[in-house]
Symmetry: C2
Subunit: 127 residues, 2 copies
């Protein structure tokens, strides 16, 4: 998780721990169901809050706003407000966000690919 270059740049102990704990924090933010589903839903496009709510099946108003704030804070989504009435807010992935989306895609493909095997494994385990 740490490159040689960084090892040269950093006074070893304290800062290395800082980087790792920051990485863990980001990982914890990102490795949760709703965040990943939102990122997947945004895809290449731009969606309004209400559209997003329709795309991410089962998400509540609150969870959507919370996760959108979190993603915005980490610079994974851009939030643009059109000060019309009624207001209009659009969300779109930033470049870091799109990069992460590629990995989410991989997880989705993995799910599809192993769907059958997993179902079988469950059957064996449960029975």
């Amino acid at each position: 998780m740490v490159t040689k270059q960084q090892l040269n740049d950093l006074p070893p102990d304290a800062d290395l721990r800082r980087v790792d704990s920051l990485a863990r924090e980001i990982f914890s933010d990102v490795a949760n169901k709703w965040a990943l589903l939102i990122i997947e839903a945004l895809g290449e496009g731009t969606l309004r809050f209400s559209e997003l709510r329709g795309e991410v099946e089962g998400i509540s108003h609150k969870m959507l706003t919370q996760n959108l704030r979190m993603l915005e804070r980490n610079g994974l989504v851009d939030r643009t407000v059109y000060p019309t009435v009624p207001p209009r807010v659009e969300y779109t992935l930033t470049e870091p966000g799109r990069a992460l989306r590629a990995t989410v895609d991989a997880i989705c493909e993995w799910t599809q690919q192993y769907l059958g095997r997993i179902e079988d494994a469950r059957g064996r385990f449960d029975g």
Copy 2:
């Protein structure tokens, strides 16, 4: 989450919904912090329960067993018990598990790559 090819293979309505809900279920199982960290920790090797607990920083006894059961149920980890005394239990990734690990690796690399930009974004957002 469903490819065009699969759309051709499947009788349309009911079964498609079944597949999707199953996929969502699997996604929810897998897209959580502890599960992904356990998979990452197992890597290519074989670890005992206690070793695993040391590797996955901050996980509790209970969360580790719960997630291991879940991963075993889905066929992502193999669990082998050596009936010695004291007992010895070893965990290792199955092929589906290793395939998933590749995507977890991708997330970790993503984290490292964008660490700085994310930290900056946070600074801007918070300040």
